[in-house]
């Protein structure tokens, strides 16, 4: 698919903007702070229902106004689809597809994109939470039903942690907590579903990551993925806990076995969970382990290698999405990434994205972007589209 026209009203620093886009590369150029990221953030929102920069919608609505509108005309093969989203400051957001009302959460069915940003380096170097988010966003893009499973898991987790806290405060023993078992059962079945879905995704991503890494780095390396499962003792979020070497799994997991293992972990942890009033194992504590030539990328990989890995993860996710899509390729969005890369990585990234239907690129410095991605240039200043050059 590709976006043929994007219109914004009161989105971030745009009062009104209208821009015609072309299939293939579109390059947005402007100095820092002018609104390049804002523009592509609007598109990213349509496919992930969130911003990669902020967790609430408030910051997306232009200061002093009550509602922002994002309108994108999409081309799915021969078919045109007009997608509209209104973000409201004090009432629920609204969405339309071809002028008929839909639920905002249905929008990702019509538009999918993969956004690359400087923040992606944290996928390799940052906390496990960023890697979990990466996997979960991709899971939801591929199968929207899972957003309900993830949300339910989070809610059961909150219910359970609150129950543990009040039990601790009241000095109640675990076996007197009749309702803990009930939450545990839900936690186990939802949690197993999340773990199984993530592991299936990781299994599918692995060969794509290996391939993408070789493309980006320009030489053969062993880039591999595995899940580190907290139910086997591998708690990446807790530095106090020794990581169990056999907590890593690289193949797909079986639902029954996963549920059994999760249940066993809850039983094993019960005493310390009652003491600490938190849930110590489960998908909320799992990590995606990235290995480069056998060593964990986090802590071992160089700056350049870390960037190659981060880009490979994003390229692999685009590849997986494209394979399953009925509406064409996801739109690739490269926000300010060329500035982060050395000359040779820039060229190889340009090669790697060349055959996608549409690639949107932002850059502060025109010369950072390889020539072949500068076919259609749009200049941006102070929240305005200045002109488009061919």
């Amino acid at each position: 698919m590709f976006v043929s026209r994007l219109s914004l009203t009161d989105f971030r620093n745009y009062e009104r903007a209208d821009v015609e886009l072309q299939p293939g590369p579109d390059l947005f150029v402007g100095s820092n702070g002018q609104g390049k990221t804002n523009l592509v953030e609007a598109l990213g929102y349509l496919s992930t229902l969130g911003s990669h920069r902020v967790s609430t919608d408030q910051a997306l609505i232009r200061q002093g106004t009550d509602a922002a509108i994002v309108r994108a005309l999409l081309q799915h093969g021969e078919r045109q689809v007009l997608v509209e989203l209104q973000l409201n400051r004090s009432s629920p957001n609204r969405a339309q597809v071809n002028r008929s009302q839909v639920k905002p959460r249905e929008l990702p069915r019509y538009f999918s994109s993969v956004l690359f940003a400087p923040e992606d380096l944290a996928l390799v170097r940052g906390d496990p939470s960023g890697r979990r988010r990466f996997l979960d966003e991709l899971l939801v893009l591929r199968s929207p039903r899972l957003s309900g499973v993830l949300a339910d898991y989070e809610r059961v987790l909150r219910q359970r942690n609150t129950l543990l806290k009040s039990a601790r405060a009241a000095g109640v023993k675990g076996n007197q907590l009749g309702t803990l078992d009930i939450w545990d059962e839900r936690l186990v079945s939802l949690g197993a579903e999340v773990m199984v879905a993530r592991s299936a995704l990781v299994t599918e991503l692995t060969p794509e990551v290996t391939k993408a890494y070789t493309t980006i780095a320009g030489e053969q390396h062993d880039a591999a993925l595995a899940m580190r499962l907290s139910m086997f003792g591998g708690d990446g979020d807790d530095d106090a806990v020794e990581v169990e070497p056999d907590a890593e799994r690289s193949g797909a997991l079986d639902v029954e076995e996963t549920a059994q293992a999760f249940k066993a972990a809850l039983e094993r942890n019960r005493r310390s969970e009652l003491e600490r009033a938190v849930t110590l194992a489960g998908p909320h504590r799992d990590d995606l382990v990235l290995r480069l030539n056998g060593m964990p990328a986090r802590g071992y990989a160089s700056h350049g290698e870390s960037w190659s890995f981060a880009l490979s993860l994003k390229l692999a996710s685009a590849e997986v999405l494209r394979r399953e899509s009925s509406t064409g390729d996801p739109v690739l969005i490269l926000d300010d990434v060329f500035a982060e890369l050395d000359e040779s990585r820039r060229e190889r990234l340009a090669d790697a994205v060349a055959d996608y239907e549409q690639v949107l690129i932002t850059a502060a410095v025109f010369d950072d972007v390889p020539d072949r991605l500068a076919a259609h240039v749009v200049r941006i200043r102070g929240g305005r589209i200045l002109e488009a050059e061919e």
Partner: protein
Amino acid sequence: MYEGIVQELIDELGRLPGIGPKSAQRIAFHILQTETFDVRRLAEVLLEVREKVRFCTICGNVSEQETCSICRDPRRSHTTICVVEEAKDVVAIERTREFRGLYHVLGGAISPIDGIGPDDLRIRELMQRLGDGTVTEVIIATDPNLEGEATATYLTRLLVQPNLRVSRLASGLPVGGDLEYADEVTLGRAFEGRRTVEA
């Protein structure tokens, strides 16, 4: 901000569930400006409802007397009890005309986040009603969301006893939803398709 009493009215209206600042303002001006709107009548009804309406001492449904009209109705089957979260769910189920038994209103669902445990619900009252063996079937119709399901599971385990059939409304109800908002047809079908649950 409006002056004095007008703003007070908007603030009071805004405290009602489901009414945001904008609606509160709209209602306030409707009350102020619409000649035909009978303010006195509304005020009277508000006072009356607080004075007259109580909760049925048997089932917990709203009632103008000691017991509600459903509990007093001799034509209704006294062998079946349908357990719901709120009184508004009774209204939703009554609309389907599928159910001819009695109700039991729990007053909510188990939800630690909201500080609600089993002891905060009318579960003890339910057990008392089951004491004399008249009731042979309990239908659990809590909301099809996490808290409603947790409450249903808790009750199911508690209610294991000889000669008592326990069933749960069949799904088909929108998951994550409120019973109250399910349409009549869906809710009616859910009643027909209820299934016995294993403890």
